[in-house]
């Protein structure tokens, strides 16, 4: 495959990235007693068969609670983790088999922005040096052009040009995240995977960074995979969403359609649990009972069945597939009907 160049274009239905049956487990440490007792190695099932499609130029929001595997998914997509099974295809190429130059080209095309830019920036490199490093390592520009390109990148994220001479600790949280974004943009990616990029920021500053993402996507035709636990935010910025629960995508579709008429009981519970800013929409009832199950021992059948208000016997034994079930988008629930799923009271 060839290195991708930035190209601007409207949202097309053509997938730029497809993920198929991705599995990732992390073995847990064993104590001496475990070894002597001959107990089997236990493992965290972080991803147990994740499939999704990312379309060119869109924002795909990936939402879920802790332990659902959303961050592991992000790291598998950029190959910070190697998945145990499954496939990732990017512009037709098999990502997990890429080697050498092709792999570096992929890494350049698909960049990641992290929650805490402080942890991903070298504290001893000035912002200018950090950006220049990315530019020269990937030979984006060379020689005298580097400094000019650094200035352009800072313009792009609305930081003053003199920010190049300052160090990460001299910036506020919101500015630091702009630096993190500039660093990702330096290598001219076509896809940005952002893992909770604004979760550590105050609401008023969050809005600044969210606007920057929206603007950059528009200007550069970026494809954005936006991973967050914040449903209000994801609803605002995503074209489509994928809802994850315990290592699986349980529902995926157009954002407004899913928010308006969620078909999976977990999606409904998640949306109902978000505190509304409108004090007139109060409810005294819990959106869902019970705790998140442990990914070390996920429940058999549908992972949501122990908390599900409408679970039936088959939900305890048969894993529901992520298929349309007669409706307009796929949902992994045995009980999801073609159009309106049965109403229930949580």
């Amino acid at each position: 495959m060839s290195g991708t160049i930035l190209k601007s274009g409207p949202v097309a239905d053509a997938p730029i990235m497809t993920v198929d049956g991705l599995v990732k487990t992390f073995p847990l440490g064993r104590s001496l007693a475990d070894v002597l007792g001959g107990r089997p190695v236990r493992a965290v099932q972080a991803l147990s068969g994740v499939s999704l499609t990312v379309r060119k130029g869109e924002t795909l929001g990936v939402v879920g609670e802790s332990g659902c595997g959303k961050s592991t998914l992000a790291r598998c997509l950029v190959r910070l983790h190697e998945p145990d099974a499954g496939a990732v295809r990017f512009e037709g190429a098999d990502v997990l088999g890429l080697q050498g130059y092709a792999r570096r080209a992929y890494n350049r095309s698909v960049q990641m922005v992290f929650q805490d830019p402080y942890g991903s920036l070298n504290p001893r490199l000035s912002v200018g040096d950090a950006l220049a490093e990315a530019l020269t390592v990937h030979r984006i520009v060379e020689g005298g052009a580097v400094r000019e390109r650094v200035g352009e990148l800072l313009d792009l994220v609305h930081l003053p040009r003199d920010a190049a001479d300052r160090y990460p600790h001299e910036f506020s949280g919101g500015q630091r995240q702009r630096v993190g974004i500039a660093r990702a943009l330096a290598v001219e990616p076509s896809v940005i995977i952002a893992d909770e990029p604004v979760s550590a920021l105050d609401v008023s500053v969050q809005a600044q960074v969210v606007n920057l993402f929206l603007e950059l996507q528009e200007r550069l035709g970026l494809t954005l995979i936006f991973i967050t636990h914040d449903l209000r935010l994801v609803r605002h910025i995503s074209h489509r969403i994928a809802v994850m629960y315990l290592g699986k995508v349980v529902e995926t579709g157009d954002t407004e359609a899913v928010f308006t008429a969620p078909r999976h009981p977990y999606t409904r519970a998640l949306i109902a649990a978000v505190p509304q800013v409108d004090p007139h929409q109060r409810s005294a009832r819990e959106a869902v009972r019970g705790e998140l199950p442990s990914p070390i021992a996920p429940p058999p059948g549908c992972p949501f069945h122990p908390r599900c208000p409408i679970a039936e016997p088959q939900c305890r034994t048969v894993v529901p597939a992520l298929v349309p079930r007669g409706g307009p988008w796929p949902v992994a629930c045995h009980l999801a009907g073609p159009a309106d799923a049965p109403e229930f009271i949580a």
């Binding site: 609670e65 105050d202 008023s204 500053v205 209000r232 910025i237």
Partner: protein
């Protein structure tokens, strides 16, 4: 409810907290007034550094030694800030209990949950051993922990985050406090678990008639749970009033801007309206209104003269020179 001092359970007057730091004095809390009525839920909301947590901790003098607290905290005719430490210890935990964001650091990791509840019951009640055990089981049941008899023997690390917060609440409730101070109690929790804990706090507030001060950065949490809200900015309360008033007709430019900066359903992918700039540094004197440098409604006097914390509507106060303009815009919109 009028803010008459006689009807208030807790009345905070002109509270100042200053920290002596290597870089000079930081005015973390700068003249805060608050009051909570019996059985009322007050939300104390603000962004990081606004002084909301420091205010909460100052009420029970739970601050480090480099903090200088002045002002008054009126509790049943006494000023908590002037009480001898020994007398204050009788009130802490008994009449006024506290829960924190991260229960793991507030719970003792090597003592069972049952014993930690028991310690609280020994300190604050006259029950005998059998009575305390019965009460401990009741408390765990009250906060929604299943099979409480078995869970009494459990240790904090065996509990999930949500369960730990429930256990923490059970310990806080052991002495049947009249007021519960909760500092970001659900911030570390997942949204479905947050929802459960908030509903639990509301139920306890209703069933036990216990007052509640809920510190949070999340406006949604306030809208869902509180009767009244005080909005903090740069160490000051800039607006306070009933939640349905403040959220639908804010009369301080900061409250207004904060509400507008949040993503709302319906305007998908439209640019959000951020508040430009940063909150002011608190180690320097602030002339005029602390929000003026970021304010869209700023006028000349805002940068020189601090607006008074004035009554702007029945039971609603705001410290904003643009308060009338906000009200007028309201009428138009």
């Amino acid at each position: 409810m009028m803010a008459a001092p006689s009807s208030a359970l807790l009345d905070v007057r002109d509270l100042h907290v200053r920290f002596a730091t290597a870089r000079g004095e930081v005015r973390a809390v700068d003249g805060v007034n608050l009051s909570v009525a019996p059985g009322e839920t007050l939300g104390l909301v603000g962004e990081s550094g606004s002084g909301k947590s420091v205010t909460l901790r100052a009420i029970l003098r739970l601050l480090r030694a480099n903090a200088a607290i002045t002002g008054e905290v009126r509790w049943q005719g006494e000023n908590l800030l002037a009480l001898p430490e020994k007398r204050l210890r009788d009130i802490r935990g008994k009449d006024i209990a506290v829960i924190f964001q991260e229960p793991m650091s507030a719970l003792n990791p090597v003592i069972s949950i049952g014993r930690q509840i028991d310690e609280s019951l020994v300190a604050h009640t006259a029950l005998d051993a059998a009575g305390r055990r019965r009460r401990a089981i009741e408390l765990l049941d009250l906060v929604g922990i299943a099979s409480p008899e078995q869970r009494l023997a459990g240790f904090p690390h065996e509990f999930s985050g949500g369960m730990r917060q429930r256990a923490m609440i059970a310990i806080a409730l052991a002495a049947e406090p009249k007021l519960l101070l909760a500092d970001e109690p659900t911030t570390a929790l997942d949204v479905t678990i947050q929802d459960q804990i908030l509903k639990l706090l509301l139920r306890l507030n209703r069933e036990l008639g216990m007052g509640l001060i809920l510190v949070t950065h999340d406006l949604g949490v306030v809208a869902e749970t509180c009767d009244r809200v005080s909005v903090m900015y740069a160490g000051r309360v800039v607006e306070s009033g009933p939640v349905d008033r403040v959220f639908t007709a804010p009369r301080h430019a900061y409250t207004d801007a904060l509400l507008r900066s949040m993503p709302h359903g319906g305007a998908a992918r439209a640019p959000l309206r951020p508040i430009p700039g940063q909150p002011p540094r608190l180690d320097r004197a602030i002339a005029g209104c602390p929000f003026a440098p970021r304010c869209a409604l700023v006028e000349d006097r805002c940068t020189v003269e601090a607006p008074p914390f004035a009554v702007v509507a029945p039971d609603q106060r705001a410290a904003c020179w643009a308060s009338d303009r906000l009200a007028a815009r309201e009428g138009v919109a």
